[in-house]
């Protein structure tokens, strides 16, 4: 079973996504801030990380920056799930950290998120030959 680490500080949203993903058959673990997220990511090595940006203690960008320094963490697929409008500078920073997707919470239903995860995981399980 694919394991997902959901890093999300808002409890309501966290449970909502957790519900959707569990119902879709994923093994979901939760982290409530970037620090906890980083720790759980390194220890649990999930198949994919669903990452919020605005969070206390350590925000999503910092967590991802740290994660990408890790040998395992540099390749783990990450989907960023944010509530904010992006600005140019932020988008540039995000792209350097190679997320698989950058999704807006307000525009994506939990089903959309789940679909993207399935898509990314099927890609990472069967990497397409470089062309």
């Amino acid at each position: 079973m694919n394991s997902i680490l959901l890093v999300e500080d808002d409890l309501t949203l966290a449970i909502m996504y957790q519900d959707q993903l569990q119902l879709d058959g994923f093994d979901v673990s939760l982290a409530h801030d970037g620090e906890e997220g980083l720790q759980k990511a390194i220890s649990k090595k999930p198949s994919l990380i669903l990452l919020d940006i605005a969070m206390p203690k350590m925000d999503g960008m910092s967590m991802l920056t740290e994660l990408r320094k890790d040998a395992w963490g540099q390749n783990v697929p990450v989907i960023i799930l944010t509530i904010m409008d992006p600005n140019e500078r932020m988008l540039q920073q995000v792209m350097e950290l190679k997320p698989a997707y950058y999704l807006f919470k307000a525009n994506s239903t939990p089903q959309d998120v789940s679909d993207k995860i399935k898509e990314v995981l099927s890609l990472s399980e069967n990497p397409q030959p470089a062309s």
Partner: protein, 683 residues
């Protein structure tokens, strides 16, 4: 006393003044040697002129009564007396009328040109009238012989002249309002100069030294003391000194002392003395007036300089003047405070670059070169370094200072610390960011759960339940749209709108938008004809352009039930114009402009149509304007349809360049706030 006199009722004033005139006249007649009615020293003329000048010509009866009484109690008939009194009254009246009209009235002693006229009118013309009247009256009534007419006339004239030139200025200067300088050193100096003048006058005219009786022109020895008065003090002191000298000289001459006591008769001696005194008085008073005028000019220049200085120093902005080599030549207090130094001397003479952060030096040099061309540069920001090395952002406005020929001599720079403004901007950004985060999070939860419910994630949803859930889902969509729009409006209104301009062919944006609207187009059975020339490149923020087009096409779809929606484009000058035409309900003329205001919708025709936020067109227009374009209604008719237009600068045009420049300026002045600002305070 002047105030007291001016408050008296006219009859009392007349009584009072005529009494003074009478006494002065009687004293004058004591010195009447050539004829019992003709005196070579006639103080009443001065009293009369000064009184009418200070208190008004309406008091002329006082002069007439005074003069009448002086002469009726002297020898002569009633007719003679009436003639002399008329002459005396006319003299004062004419003098004052001329002075008021041509010599600046009661301020006639303040300027040399006015004083000159005063001497002419009061000293020469009016006194001649009085002398003529008087001497004619005496001769015609047989109280004087015609052979004596000339000496009598000249004696009378000169006597009155002395009164006009020596006594009138004394009274005018004392009773004209002017505060006394009671500083002890000043009073001591006056006392000293008067004492010296008194002693010298006694020596020259009082017979206290043999020198006064020798055949020497010692009368000029008083000059230094009179000059002292004229240069150091005011006209009041000068007029007093002249009067003092005049009285001592008359007294001495009468007693046979002094350089003028050599005449054939006492009258001849007094005649010579009066000629001397009048000339001296005119010269010294003229000099005093010139000095006063000069002093006033200096004071006014100083005042103007002080006012200017105060203005500069009370400015909340720092003002710095530098030469063309950027050496600072003048600063105000605020400039000193701004860099936390103690006094202007800490800054003067230094190079302005010393206060500008190193990384800004290159840009400063470029701007200096630019300033030479454009003469004035405003709103340029620099990082300024304080004495302790700390820094702040300053907004500056620089202008070239030119000399009379228009050659640049220096640069004046007004510097404003914008730290606080920057902080406010940052807070505005932060507010919008936090508000976005806090509003969207719960709405996302509602929307997400609803979609999961409707997808049957929590069990099968039966039909009766599905309907209200769909309604809630639609309302939630509206709410999300509204929040997004309100956040956009608050960005627009707080001027925190961020644009990322790029150049791209219309194709890349238009095709995406049309594709995303396909499901709705299909649902509504409305045809969409896309005739936009998509190869033309525009300069815009692609995301914002997408929002505008979605709004315009979305509105067309919302209000069109049958027919088609046509998109086409036109190149017009530096702009590309995109038209969105529909065959929908149309908008009445009155409503066409209203639509672009916030929260305005055409309500009457909206029954049964999906509600909007009423912000879409307002936001679209503001976005378009920020990109150098506009959104407007081209044509619309109720029941027939509408055409909306969106203009954008074509790439590579002058307009596109200007818009980019403007945006760069705004961006460089705005701070960027990213998502991290929205961190939760509690953790």
């Amino acid at each position: 006393m002047y105030g007291f006199l001016s408050k008296l009722k006219i009859p009392i004033a007349i009584l009072f003044i005529s009494a003074i005139y009478f006494i002065a006249g009687k004293i004058g007649l004591v010195l009447a040697f050539v004829h019992p009615s003709v005196s070579v020293v006639w103080l009443p003329t001065g009293i009369a002129i000064a009184t009418l000048l200070l208190l008004g010509r309406k008091l002329w009866p006082a002069i007439f009564i005074g003069a009448f009484l002086v002469n009726i109690t002297n020898e002569g008939s009633l007719l003679t007396t009436l003639g002399i009194a008329t002459g005396n009254t006319l003299e004062a009246f004419i003098a004052v009328w001329l002075i008021e009209r041509f010599a600046n009235g009661r301020n006639c002693l303040d300027r040399p040109q006015d004083l000159f006229r005063f001497v002419l009118f009061a000293g020469i013309i009016s006194t001649a009238v009085s002398a003529l009247c008087g001497v004619f009256s005496l001769t015609l009534t047989g109280f004087a012989s015609w052979e004596n007419f000339r000496p009598l006339f000249f004696t009378w004239w000169l006597g009155d002249m002395g009164g006009a030139i020596i006594v009138a200025p004394l009274i005018i200067s004392w009773f004209n309002k002017r505060t006394l300088n009671l500083k002890i050193t000043h009073v001591m100096e006056i006392f000293l100069v008067f004492l010296l003048l008194f002693l010298v006058s006694l020596v020259i005219f009082g017979g206290f030294s043999t020198v006064s009786n020798g055949n020497y022109s010692v009368e000029f020895l008083v000059l230094p003391y009179l000059l002292w008065c004229a240069f150091r003090f005011n006209k009041r002191e000068t007029a007093t000194a002249l009067f003092l000298l005049s009285e001592i000289a008359i007294w001495g001459t009468l007693n046979g002392f002094g350089p003028f006591a050599k005449g054939a008769s006492v009258n001849a001696s007094l005649f010579l003395l009066q000629a001397y005194m009048n000339t001296l008085a005119v010269t010294i008073l003229m000099l005093a007036a010139a000095v006063i005028q000069q002093r006033q000019a200096e004071e006014s220049a100083q005042k103007s300089e002080d006012r200017y200085r105060t203005l500069v120093d009370t400015s909340p902005d720092a003002i710095v003047v530098m030469d063309l080599q950027t050496k600072i030549t003048m600063v105000n207090k605020q400039a000193v405070n701004m860099v936390e130094l103690n006094s202007p001397s800490d800054i003067l003479g230094k190079d302005a670059f010393a206060f500008i952060a190193k990384e800004d030096h290159e840009r400063t040099r470029e701007n200096l070169a630019k300033l030479a061309r454009v003469k004035r540069l405003t709103g340029v920001e620099y990082t300024i370094v304080r004495r302790d090395g700390s820094r702040f952002i300053a907004s500056t406005s620089a202008s070239l200072l030119n000399d009379k020929k228009g050659n640049p001599q220096g640069i004046i720079v007004v510097v404003r610390d914008v730290t606080r403004e920057k902080e406010l901007d940052r807070m505005k950004d932060e507010f919008i960011t936090v508000a976005s985060h806090e509003l969207r999070t719960p709405m996302t939860a509602v929307k997400g759960y609803l979609s999961m419910l409707l997808n049957g994630k929590y069990g099968v949803v039966n039909e009766p339940l599905r309907k209200p859930l769909v309604t809630v889902a639609m309302a939630t969509e509206r709410l999300i749209e509204l929040v997004n729009d309100i956040l956009s409006v608050s960005r627009i209104e707080t001027k925190r709108l961020k644009m990322t301009l790029s150049v791209f062919p219309l194709r890349s944006v238009v095709e995406d938008i049309v594709l995303s609207l396909k499901p709705i187009i299909h649902e509504k059975h409305v045809a969409l004809s896309d005739q936009i020339d998509k190869d033309v490149s525009v300069q815009a923020d692609p995301q914002k352009l997408g929002q505008i087009l979605t709004n315009l096409i979305g509105n067309a779809l919302k209000f069109t039930d049958t027919g088609e929606i046509v998109l086409h484009s036109e190149e017009k000058g530096e702009r590309m114009i995109i038209f969105v035409s529909d065959t929908g309900v149309g908008i009445s003329c009155i409503n066409q402009e209203r639509l672009f205001r916030k929260f305005q919708q055409v309500s009457s025709q909206q029954a049964g149509r999906p509600a909007g936020t009423g912000l879409g067109l307002y936001i679209s227009r503001e976005y378009a304007k920020a990109m150098g374009g506009d959104v407007w209604v081209v044509a619309s008719e109720e029941g027939k349809g509408s055409t909306f237009a969106l203009s954008l600068p074509k790439s590579g045009t002058r307009l596109a360049f200007d818009v980019r420049q403007r945006l760069v300026m705004q961006m460089s002045n705005a701070s960027l706030v990213d998502e991290q600002t929205a961190k939760h305070p509690s953790s």
